[in-house]
Subunit: 401 residues, 2 copies
């Protein structure tokens, strides 16, 4: 057994050195990207967490790293990075708008770019609240009891009502209960639905969502669908709400990001899709000159790299399988994730569990109150999942889980 | 005479090939940065505008390009760009907060980072308006008649009063008139002062500003000082309003950027300086996970590169001299710029002038209504200013200016 330093990011641990030639051959097959990416995605590799190089599984990042094409596009843009991104027709900003729009058979008027989907969610919340406040209509933000918290954080300074609806019996988002609440509210409801939801990883089936959209009064309910993890879903009951946009549905915004499948979290690039009227409203609250030039060229290059997207989804599916197999083996309860993280039940105190994992140089997810007996773990790449599941088995031997 | 392709950005034209050895020697003296930077800053070089490589002087960018140290820091960070920037103590985000704070002998509580100073201006405008609206106090944005327009654009969707005060007789910001207006306004005034002002390039002397700050009621007037171009000022009557922050002045925010002197416009990184109370209020409106990782490491490296800062200021001063000498020679009226652009009076129609310059592959500044007989030109590097001033002389020969 020997530790092999693969790159500046991570240290992998070979389970079997006899496999070296196969690994190299496999690496060549993967488009010449070399051992580094292959080692990360090879299900028989094991990452070795070290104090100076811990296994970070707490932020739903994609540790596969960005596409080589995105990497090269950034390097190529650097000499021009002293310039603002233009709004003129040939700029990377407009190229990106066009690419995204044509992906969904829409036009630039349907797209607003943002610093991650986070900025788009913020601008939407602010635009909707301000529009209603300007005419003295009461506004509420209507969200599931447990979800990605940015919508709530962005709404807070406006002193509006924030209503949280408990999960259904399977920890899914309770759409009928949310609908009931919106119908009873005397004012305007901004509904935020993260699909798949964070931290549960569960999808909300299209049939429930579609029914609500059809029946909701457009002047009293606005839907924000956060589909940051949509690319990872293989459950056929899920459908992206973007399908509603060509139908000229005015009260819907769908937000997407390059942070997950495309591994560009540190670059901050995402977007919103909606009707031209909605997008115009939101753009008034988006920062001028918002996205950075390197993110724009990286996103453009990523959209051209279909191979990378495939490999990214595949690596995540492999990691998901490694983890769910282990949890089954250890008889640990977990939710059937459709994202790049998994929510599973631990025994005893989460803080103790986190501390014990940290002692092994593994950083697991934070607490999602009130579910303090659950832990969210980012799936990482297969080599990382192998390290994590090995540690879970050790914990079981010690009676800690 | 021979055109020499210096780098992917620009083509320079040697005035005298006999100077080659001197140029190379000079290049070596400039810290090994090579001909490219030297050619840009050498006052005897002339940039050659081409259709495929025009001379872009319309956005107050710093065409010197970023510091080599910033460039290297970006390359080094790329393998980790799949990660979000952390808020923990050793992250580049916190390192940058610390560096900026210590530059002004302040603490992290005094600093809010933003995607360019633009995001900080936006968050401040939104935070201040929302705070007053939550208690039904009327709010106005009080600005000079001609200034950087983002503050106004960010305020517009809130339906507040926007009051514009005419310039004084020398096209300076009329502080006494603004003060009078704020005193008469029954409500809360957000005062936005860009210093030096854009597009005039003129400073507002500290003595006028200080008097107003001392006399203004803190609960009715809030000052935003945009000092994006502050580093270029050598007029002693200017003082950064940051001097007020250690004095615990609650009603002041100063915004700064890495887009100008540090040439990082495409990366989107800036900040605001204020009291802890002010900064806390503004942070609630700043996007979560806002700045990107590459901008953070580039900004950190830039702050360490004192040589670059010096060279950057020097190049701008040289360009300013080249332009003002030419304008003097041609007896063209201009304002004494303290920034990286200059506002000068043209004869006849601006659109015609812009078009004629464009025919020579030179992109000059847009119209700043109602001053349609003035043009704002970004100073660029000396080699670029030589090309522009040569064209001005040609225009004079043709009787166009």
């Amino acid at each position: 057994m020997k530790n092999i330093k693969q790159d500046s990011e991570s240290t992998f641990h070979r389970r079997d050195l006899m496999k070296t030639s196969t690994i190299l051959f496999g690496g060549l097959l993967l488009g010449g990207l070399g051992k580094s990416v292959y080692a990360k995605t090879n299900p028989s590799e094991i990452f070795k967490p070290l104090k100076e190089n811990p296994l970070i599984l707490n932020s739903n990042e994609n540790s596969l790293g960005m596409s080589k094409k995105a990497h090269n596009a950034i390097i190529q843009r650097l000499p021009k990075a002293f310039r603002y991104l233009r709004y003129s027709s040939h700029s990377p900003r407009m190229e990106l708008m066009d690419k995204i729009a044509s992906m969904f058979k829409l036009t630039q008027d349907n797209i607003t770019l943002g610093n991650g989907s986070s900025e788009t969610i913020q601008a939407a919340i602010q635009a909707l609240i301000t529009e209603q406040k300007n005419t003295n209509v009461p506004v509420q933000l209507l969200i599931p009891e447990l979800t990605f918290e940015f919508a709530e954080l962005y709404a807070k300074p406006f002193n509006i009502t924030i209503t949280k609806i408990p999960f259904d019996s399977k920890m899914g988002i309770d759409i009928p209960k949310m609908k009931e609440n919106a119908e009873a509210f005397k004012g305007f409801s901004i509904v935020y639905i993260c699909n798949p939801n964070n931290p549960t990883g569960l999808i909300t089936p299209a049939k429930y969502i579609d029914k609500w959209i059809k029946e909701a009064p457009k002047d009293r309910v606005f839907f924000i669908f956060d589909e940051a993890y949509g690319e990872y879903v293989d459950d056929k009951r899920f459908q992206s709400a973007i399908k509603w946009i060509p139908l000229k549905q005015e009260n819907i915004l769908v937000t997407k990001t390059f942070s997950k499948m495309y591994a560009l979290a540190g670059l901050r690039i995402g977007y919103g899709v909606g009707s031209p009227k909605t997008i115009k409203k939101i753009r008034a609250f988006v920062e001028l000159d918002n996205i950075n030039a390197l993110a724009a060229v990286a996103a453009n290059a990523s959209l051209e790299d279909k191979e990378f997207a495939k490999r990214s989804i595949q690596a995540n599916a492999t990691s998901r399988k490694i983890l769910s197999d282990t949890l089954d083996e250890l008889k640990i309860k977990y939710l059937p994730s459709q994202a790049n993280f998994m929510f599973y039940q631990i025994k005893g105190n989460l803080k103790t569990f986190q501390k014990r994992m940290e002692d092994k140089h593994i950083i697991v997810g934070r607490e999602f109150s009130p579910l303090s007996q659950w832990n969210r773990i980012s799936l990482g790449v297969p080599a990382e999942m192998n390290a994590f599941t090995n540690e879970l088995r050790n914990f079981r031997k010690k009676g800690w889980i």
